[in-house]
Amino acid sequence: MAQSNFDRRRINGPDESFQPTFESDDEGGSRWKVGDPRKGRMAQEIRPIFLQAGLINQANGSAYIETEKTKIACAVYGPRQSKTTVYNEKGRLNVEVKFAPFSCTRRRVPIRDAEDRSIAVQIQQALVPAVRLELLPKSTIDIFITVIENDGIEGCIAAGSAAASVALADAGIEMLGLVASCSAAIVGNEVWMDPIEEEGQIAAGSLVLAGLPALGTITSVWQTGSMSPDEAIKCMEACQKCCEDIHSVMAQSLLETAQNT
């Protein structure tokens, strides 16, 4: 439902408008029940990833990632001069996430809200340990992420971190390794990897893990919902394994870009 804020910097529509509501009997009997197998993939399978670097020529580095219905574009500008007058001996990494208004099922107002910022913080936490910021005093690296189509917030965070890593590498910024990220959800008593939006809604809890497969370290773990510690450990191990596969996809795309230029 669109709020009645008159934004004087944009073309405005009517004060209030509502998302269309659909007839309930059109849904059919396709509701998921506990014990049903996953639709379309195996429980441990992640969606196929299409990742290409260097599509935005205005930026220092860029990447575009597509995993079925999640499409994210990422651009890196930097290192450039810090706006602040305070001297900082380590560089700053600034991540901004923006959802296109048509990216979610419900239209998103172009004003940035708390969800955008929390995703940006998660991606920043995943990337900061990997970037050699001590080599860039007084500088800022800006990472801008635009979500063109969104199919599940966990998938968004994972894909965004991967795209940001590849964009940083494309920009030639020194890093300790590529950051790969994967998400998992507990559905029933199974671990389902890379959940989409529908699966995220029926899950009891979900977990997003980011790490450096090249060094075997983990940079960030976010867990939401309810899961027992054993389930959380199982999710983390499954995510780490998937991160290695994702890492090879990322490295392959960077290699192809380097070979083509």
Partner: protein, 293 residues
């Protein structure tokens, strides 16, 4: 020895080429006007095009499943994604038989180093306003076709375009994307329930929009009151004194013309020339651009 000296000379010639390229880039950064003037003196532009040549256009529609209609346009390197979302609202009291069409262009920080994150810049606001004018004046989607129940429920079409890569001429690319997205849009069949006052949509039946005219736009810039450049890039744009945009509909007729600045090249007024060049380009390359999707 010969092989070693050959490889050394090859290395030094590639070094020389690199050094030349670096000098060229530095010159471009420090003296952009002089750089452009040097190219125009040879009747060519920095990216190798002729003065009246347009960049290639590629259009992909329908790739975004969360939107009711979508289009992705690449005009050279300028990339614009447009999505249409349909919502339901009450019509205005004095216009009970009209729906709403709300276009907006967003130029976020991702697309160019000159845009900073934050509220829409002047450029984005001006472009959104111009696009709104063109879409309304050419009645791409007649708002009378968006009525569900007169006076009670109408469709609101939010046409949001986001620029992903800004390499000049966002206006042409965005108009193309918006019209293509509207052509691709399908709305669910909606029925208004008199008793509850609510509108319910069908999941199964979707109808395409009623499309009126499908305009295409052609933008020019005048540099130094001496050269008319078609389809300026982001390097050329800040150096232009005047920009002219000509909007042509699907019959080759003129929809609207916008000019910012004095339209003089030498001593002649070039507005008519711009219209002719635009119509010629439309006939040669853009006539079927919306059909291909």
């Amino acid at each position: 020895m010969a092989a070693a000296s050959a490889s050394v000379s090859a290395a030094s010639s590639s070094d020389q080429a690199e050094q030349d390229a670096l000098k060229g880039l530095t010159f471009q950064r420090l003296h952009p006007r002089a750089y452009l003037e040097r190219f125009l003196a040879e009747n060519v532009r920095p990216d190798g095009r002729d003065l009246d040549e347009w960049r290639d256009v590629s259009l992909i529609v329908g790739s975004i499943s969360t939107a009711d209609g979508s289009a992705l346009v690449r005009l050279g390197s300028t990339t614009v994604v447009c999505g249409v979302k349909a919502e339901i609202a009450e019509p205005e009291l004095d216009r009970p038989l009209e729906g709403f069409l709300v276009p907006n262009l967003d130029l976020p920080a991702i697309c160019s180093p000159k845009f900073k994150p934050g509220p829409p810049t002047d450029e984005a606001q001006v472009l959104s306003d111009r696009l709104n004018d063109v879409l309304v004046s050419s009645a791409v989607v007649p708002t009378t076709s968006l009525v569900i129940e007169p006076g009670k429920a109408v469709w609101v079409l939010y046409v949001d375009a986001t620029c992903i890569n800004y390499d000049g001429n966002a206006f042409d690319a965005t108009l193309l994307a918006m019209v293509a997205a509207l052509k691709n849009t399908t709305l669910p069949k909606a029925t208004y329930n008199e008793e509850t006052g609510r509108t319910v949509c069908s999941r199964k039946v979707r109808e395409p929009l009623q499309i009126g005219r499908t305009p295409t736009s052609f933008s020019f810039g005048i540099f130094d009151r001496a050269h008319l450049l078609a389809d300026p890039t982001s390097f050329e744009e800040p150096l232009l004194d005047t920009t002219v945009s000509v909007v042509i509909d699907e019959t080759g007729g003129l929809t609207s013309v916008m000019q910012l600045g004095l339209g003089l090249v030498g001593a002649d007024d070039v507005l008519n020339k711009c219209v002719d060049v635009a119509q010629q380009c439309w006939r040669e390359t853009r006539k079927g651009v919306y059909e291909a999707s």
